[in-house]
């Protein structure tokens, strides 16, 4: 038995900028602010940082970040692909590097001006030949359209309704209404607003889609022993996993035998295999919510319910505080900020420190997931 990830590392610091439709400053500046804040939160000097991990879609690279914040010699750096599918993997890569002695202080970050910047799908020059040649000419242009197709099929197969998707949107909005940092802090959502909202890609309406946000976040990963000397209670990386299923096609996953079992299922098998805990032990979940249908799919994938039961799981306030599985307690991508899921990681840390604005009493375990519907990743955090 070689090195194990289980509780070997911990998240010792978190940092973030404000979230807004438009923030002043460059993505690089925002990244540096979030990283410096995370290091300060941990009580670790920037000169001790020797590892970096981020997304391939991140525009600020390690050289720029390292020299700006005053990092020392860096011995591990990695980037993870597939947009929001990479969020948890950034922490997983740092945890693996630190657990195997390749580095000692790792910083993961995401900085993005998606609120004031361009929508990626509007760029008609960057048409990836595979698989866009099979989808974009037919007007399947945006992620909302691509996920909308899976959502329609899911609703057809399992009797899921728009009310189920509303349950997801409402839980996230209710938590955002408790979180002063959330973009939707002062904007309550009602069922009537949801049911009469404009369509984006029918069957998905405006409130089924995440926000467009300027903002940056970061976290600091260190060995468990080191974390116990830091400023806050350590939040241990109990288990971590990535998932790229056999014959998966990315967000246009229409071309395998079973398009409704996506990367969550693969990541979940590996995540639980490496854990002493199971889905029944999870106190609170931060599940990637670029679109509401990703929640029922992920609930099934991570084993909180059976196949086809994810929509019904959301009934009866199950996702609210006091429900079966409190969800996205900072408001998530739907109502706090959409920064490729990194705010789900930091919210998981806040829950396990006991400092969330929508604290689940005595929360000791938190599942954090990255984007379902693309090659994904997940973390099981514990206090």
């Amino acid at each position: 038995m070689g090195a194990t990830l289980k509780d070997a590392t911990a998240i010792a610091g978190i940092g973030q900028t404000p979230f807004a439709k438009q923030l002043p400053g460059s993505e690089k500046t925002l990244a540096c602010r979030a990283i410096v804040a995370a290091l300060d939160d941990a009580g670790i000097a920037p000169s001790e940082v020797d590892a970096f991990a981020s997304y391939t879609m991140e525009e600020t690279d390690e050289v720029e970040i390292a020299k700006a914040i005053g990092a020392g010699d860096v011995t591990h750096f990695s980037k993870v692909g597939y947009g929001g599918g990479g969020s948890c993997a950034t922490v997983a890569h740092l945890a693996a590097a630190i657990a195997t002695g390749q580095a000692s202080v790792g910083v993961a970050w995401r900085s993005r001006k998606r609120g004031s910047g361009p929508r990626p799908w509007k760029n008609t020059q960057v048409q990836l030949p595979t698989p866009a040649q099979w989808t974009r000419p037919f007007g399947l242009l945006r992620p909302a359209d691509e996920i909308g197709l899976l959502a329609r099929r899911y609703m057809h197969e399992y009797g899921a309704t728009r009310d189920h998707l509303f349950n997801v949107a409402l839980a996230c909005r209710n938590r955002a209404n408790q979180n002063p940092a959330a973009m939707m802090y002062d904007r309550p959502l009602t069922r009537e607003m949801y049911m009469t909202a404009r369509w984006i890609s029918e069957p998905l309406c405006l409130f089924d889609n995440c926000l467009e946000t300027d903002g940056a976040l970061a976290c600091v990963v260190v060995a468990a022993e080191r974390a116990r000397d830091c400023r806050h209670r350590p939040v241990y990386v109990h288990s971590a996993a990535q998932g790229l299923p056999a014959q998966h096609h990315g967000m246009v996953n229409y071309w395998n035998d079973d398009p409704l079992t996506g990367p969550a299922w693969t990541a979940a098998r590996q995540l639980w295999k490496g854990a002493d805990l199971g889905p029944q032990d999870v106190d609170v979940a931060q599940i990637y919510d670029a679109f509401t249908p990703l929640i029922p799919l992920s609930l099934e994938g991570y084993g909180f319910c059976g196949r086809g039961e994810g929509a019904a799981f959301t009934e009866g306030g199950a996702l609210e505080i006091g429900g079966r599985l409190p969800l996205n307690t900072g408001g998530g991508g739907l109502s706090e900020a959409y920064v490729h899921g990194f705010n789900l990681i930091t919210e998981g840390v806040k829950q396990l420190r006991g400092t969330s604005t929508a604290q689940v009493p005595d929360a000791a375990t938190c599942l954090v997931t990255a984007g379902e519907g693309v090659p994904t990743s997940a973390l099981l955090l514990r206090s």
């Binding site: 040649q133 099979w134 000419p137 007007g139 242009l141 945006r142 197709l149 029918e202 014959q247």
Partner: protein, 174 residues
């Protein structure tokens, strides 16, 4: 398969109705639907489509169909492939109705649909496309209320202003 084949889209499985509907072939800048940008593996699909044929890549050794096309058979790892002709019949597997914000050419066709069709001979082979009233009819020529999962459809071929022919889908029972 030569990519130098004529792009003449003379083969139409369905003739246009006698009253010519508005067409998507007009030279209008707002009419510029995106063209497929084929890769090496996908190029034969578009070449066959230009001849009015719907063909899917299959392994020349183990005969398994695969889509999207790729260099190597995931079942037996053979690099030998051929392109198998499909009947063009299938069923709607799912669909969406995209609304703005959209690229201008698509926003100019409100109520258009994007469908996934599973092929009759190979239900696990699914193609994204548009359900239209006739091969050359506008993208939004079918009343969205007519769309439903499971509806039988058949392929037709339409040549875009850029000279590329794409498969489209017509209801078997309009």
């Amino acid at each position: 398969m030569s990519s130098g084949e004529s792009l003449r889209a003379s083969v139409r499985e369905v003739m246009s109705p006698s009253v010519t509907p508005p067409t998507d072939n007009r030279p209008d800048p707002a009419a510029d639907l995106l063209l497929p940008v084929p890769d090496d593996d996908g190029a034969p699909f578009w070449d066959y489509a230009a001849r009015g044929e719907l063909r899917v890549q299959s392994c020349a050794d183990c005969d398994e169909l695969r889509f999207p096309p790729r260099p190597c058979c995931p079942h037996c790892q053979s690099f030998a492939a051929r392109w198998q002709k499909m009947s063009g019949r299938g069923r709607i597997w799912s669909y969406v109705l995209p609304h703005p914000p959209l690229l201008p050419a698509y926003a100019a066709r409100p109520g258009y649909n994007a469908v996934v069709v599973e092929l009759a001979e190979a239900p696990r082979i699914r193609l994204v496309g548009n359900l239209v009233a006739a091969a050359d009819a506008p993208l939004n020529s079918v009343d969205p209320a007519r769309l439903r999962i499971g509806a039988p459809v058949k392929a037709a071929f339409h040549t875009l202003p850029g000279g590329v022919t794409v498969p489209r889908w017509l209801l078997e029972r309009p």
